[in-house]
């Protein structure tokens, strides 16, 4: 597990960008991304086009791997361990068992202990995060609502996770059993949180980041790195925006730098109000 979550340690204070082509991947690396996430369509397009969203074809992942020197992640459907086996054989550096794709199993997530490649999973609250960790996830990302350009759900999920972590650190030993029951999570993991005051694996943020200010917000709320999906390549000037989000993540607590990098970026991706959504991707996963 140290080797698996160790790579997540190396990605901290960095930005992981969704890319669908080798050209996108090069733009992301040129801008300073710490890793790229290879997928067939960015979440905004999955939302618009509908249909079943699956793992990327191997050729796409390979063309992206060949285009960059930084780590390459790829998404598998929730519960689709065969997609994960294929991605592992392909040599990706991380697998995202992702609610952005159409779930393959409505009760079971992948048993991630069976794999050498590390997994990241989404979570909307602490219980979900701990269930994924008990299944072998080496990194958690708050889910947010992918493809909306709306940060509100990311903030909700991040606050839910970090707020409960803070509350657990002041619970007494008897209360920890109740926490485990309420969170539907192993008591050993709840105890570990009570002792160390954080998740046993890194906590990153995803879903709705569209501006340098969004990246700063979630980092200040306790995220240790940022995933940006549609926010880069659905904006006016992907290259400049990608670079600005990277600088904002590194310097998230320095308002003077945030102001500087927020200028001259053109239009951000058009955002969506949550009330108008037909599908809540974050509701997928159990």
């Amino acid at each position: 597990m140290r080797v698996k979550s160790g790579l997540a340690e190396m990605l901290k204070r960095g930005v992981i960008m969704d890319v669908v082509t080798a050209e996108h991947a090069r733009i992301a690396e040129d801008a300073g991304a710490v890793a790229v996430m290879a997928l067939e369509r960015v979440p905004a397009d999955i939302r618009r086009d509908g249909g079943v969203a699956r793992m990327s074809p191997p050729e796409i992942v390979e063309s992206i791997t060949g285009a960059v020197t930084i780590p390459v992640m790829a998404k598998a459907r929730i519960g689709h361990f065969a997609e994960a086996q294929i991605l592992e054989a392909l040599g990706v550096d991380y697998i995202d068992e992702s609610e952005v794709l159409t779930p393959a199993d409505e009760a079971h997530h992948i048993d991630k202990w069976q794999f050498t490649v590390p997994f990241v999973c989404g979570a909307t609250n602490l219980g979900e995060a701990l269930r994924r960790i008990s299944e072998g996830a080496a990194m958690i990302r708050s889910k947010g609502e992918a493809g909306t350009g709306n940060i509100v759900e990311a903030v909700r999920h991040l606050r839910a996770i970090t707020g409960d972590i803070r509350r657990i650190t002041v619970a007494d030993s008897a209360e920890l059993f109740d926490w485990a029951k309420r969170l539907q999570a192993p008591v050993a993991l709840v105890r570990e949180i009570a002792e160390v005051g954080s998740l046993p694996v890194p906590l990153f943020c995803a879903g709705g980041v569209a501006t340098p200010a969004d990246a700063s917000l979630v980092m200040q709320l306790g995220a240790e790195a940022v995933f940006v999906g549609s926010g880069i390549f659905k904006s006016d000037n992907p290259s400049a925006r990608a670079k600005a989000v990277v600088e904002a993540t590194t310097n998230f607590d320095d308002p003077a730098i945030l102001l500087k990098v927020s200028r001259g970026l053109g239009e951000a991706m058009p955002g969506i109000e949550l009330e108008g959504l037909e599908t809540r991707l974050a509701a997928r996963g159990w």
Binding site: R2, G6, E9, K12, T69, T250
Partner: protein, 190 residues
């Protein structure tokens, strides 16, 4: 004595806590004024391309080059070793390396993350008990110059080396919980 950890991107937090555990005053370094204030520096693991770009963005390239040339005690781990190297292969053409250690290193030389590993690592300078070397998408040191002292090897290849005040390792001492290398760096390096 104040030890800085370059905290632009990567595993800076674990180095800061390791330094504090061995009794050093440790600060995160992201700006030139913070760099000017330290007696020693750790360059952590992370993505070397990103760290290199953020050195440029935050105006740290010149100040860091000057401090390194002035003999600042420095320990580079993984991506940090690449910053100290004289030559980096399989990186980006524009990535910074300061030539503080007369070594050539190949970036991410073991392959993808599935090839990352742990291995016991005898280090004579740290006593009989081996360290646990945690290697994550690690570089390989392919050449060491005559001034470079090799303190540990794995499969015959240097994984911990030193040249004057500059130390570099291809593994991650900050992930293992073993504080001996941080302690040695603070005691001998500073």
């Amino acid at each position: 004595m104040k030890v800085g950890v370059l905290a632009l991107q990567g595993a800076a937090g674990l180095h800061l806590s390791a330094l504090r555990s061995v009794g050093a005053a440790a600060i995160a370094v992201r700006r030139p004024d913070e760099l000017a204030d330290v007696d020693g520096l750790i360059l952590p693991g992370g993505e070397s391309t990103t760290i290199s770009m953020m050195l440029d963005a935050n105006g740290l390239v010149e100040p860091l080059a000057e401090r390194l040339a002035g003999g600042l005690a420095v320990l580079g781990t993984c991506a940090g070793l690449l910053l100290l190297a004289a030559q980096v292969t399989d990186g980006r053409d524009d990535q910074r390396c300061f030539g503080t250690l007369d070594i050539s290193a190949r970036r991410n030389a073991y392959g993808p993350q599935t090839e990352s590993f742990e291995a016991p690592l005898p280090v004579a300078a740290l006593g009989p008990e081996p360290m646990t070397g945690i290697f994550i998408r690690s570089p390989i040191v392919e050449r060491t110059g005559p001034g470079v002292e090799v303190l540990a090897r794995l499969d015959g290849r240097p994984v911990l080396c030193r040249q004057g005040a500059a130390w570099g390792c291809t593994f991650h001492p900050e992930l293992s919980g073993d504080l001996r290398l941080h302690r040695l760096f603070c005691e001998e390096g500073l």
